[in-house]
Amino acid sequence: MSDRVAEEGPEGAEAGGAEANPLLRSLKERFGERILAIEAFRGDATAVLAPAALLEVATFLRDEARPAFDMLLDVTAVDFLGRRPRFEIVYHLVSTGDASRVRLKLPVEEETPSVPSLVPVWPGANWLERETFDMYGIRFDGHPDLRRIYLYDEFIGHPLRKDYPKQKRQPLIGPGSQGEAGGQGGGR
């Protein structure tokens, strides 16, 4: 994680490093070791945190931080196949007050790909977390309705994981579907 330290960061890191960012500094002061790393790059603030701290940090950012981050813009994940921890869950928050943004990243192990759901904090997290579950197989503990959102219930696996075979097809009808004799599962 040393590459995350802003002083050694790439060109474009803010003068004074992430420590100069007041929001990141306040996060670091308040949550201490549970903030694993902070970085600032061309005005984008990022905090890497332990999954166990997510709900507390999110509630803090929504209620107490100034500006208050009242909007969850996006939830997604990154699959670093071969690295440990394998997954990184990414949250983008925005403050509608002054349009400032902050990004939260959660490293998650492959064996237990689950993080707390943010639906209690931002109801808009509902479909975003369902999408991340659909595509990456990340479990969101406490989600009220964790079903697939884009794909069909019959689909096996999570297609945006790097080890999902690119050519693998799971058609509902047509060649390769169940009930089709000699289906290869590979389209035409």
């Binding site: 690119k166 097809r169 009808i173 047509g174 060649p175 009930g179 089709e180 035409r188």
Partner: protein
């Protein structure tokens, strides 16, 4: 005098019938007449899923005006349609819906595959996209392009009309799939069971 009046109604070659009678009918074959009527009175069902829909709107609008060629009223129920226009990317999740729409159309019916995604999957060689709708329903005419030019769509329409003119009621016509008629394609399997087994076309 009576004989003279009758002679007025004879044709120049001596056969019965005069100028007024000659103008009032023509002779044709029944099959030709039916095909002629069918090919100029399409009731289209636009199954529009993606960006090709913009090009579809353009080609059916006043500038390119497919009304000129008999591609007229869109019917938004398959039961009143005989030409299924599949316009845009079809995903596996969408596929059973497309198939059900096709099954709900009454014969005679035709399918136009509009654009590269519909023809082959286009650039989307991935987990989500059907690699050509002819893997799930029979296609009569393929219009290539990303999106197709209006001229390409009109050309495809005219080629489809040429085919329909050669079709015979209850008799298959040679086409790109061989000599399998859409009627036989439908009768070989259970009707309206979605999802269900599908006989794919093999080119």
């Amino acid at each position: 005098m009576a004989m003279e009046e009758r002679e007025v109604l004879l044709r120049p070659d001596g056969r019965p019938g005069g100028a007024d009678l000659r103008d009032s009918f023509f002779t044709s074959r029944y099959q030709d007449a039916v095909a002629w009527a069918r090919k100029f009175a399409f009731f289209q069902y636009p199954f529009v899923t993606a960006c090709c829909g913009m090009e579809y709107m353009s080609v059916t609008g006043p500038r390119y005006d497919t009304d000129r060629f008999g591609l007229t009223l869109p019917r938004f129920t398959p039961r009143q349609s005989d030409l299924l226009l599949v316009v845009g990317t079809i995903t596996h999740r969408q596929a059973p819906i497309l198939r059900r729409v096709w099954e709900q159309m009454a014969d005679p019916k035709w399918v136009m595959s509009f654009g590269n995604c519909t023809n082959t999957g286009g650039p989307y060689d991935n987990y989500a996209v059907v690699q050509g709708i002819d893997t799930i329903i029979p296609v009569d005419i393929y219009v290539p392009g990303c999106p197709p030019r209006p001229e390409a769509v009109i050309d495809g329409l005219l080629k489809l009309q040429e085919r329909i003119q050669r079709e015979r009621v209850n008799r298959p016509v040679e086409n790109i799939h061989g000599s399998v008629s859409t009627t036989r394609f439908a009768s070989r399997e259970e009707v309206a069971l979605v999802p269900g087994p599908v006989e794919p076309h093999r080119d």
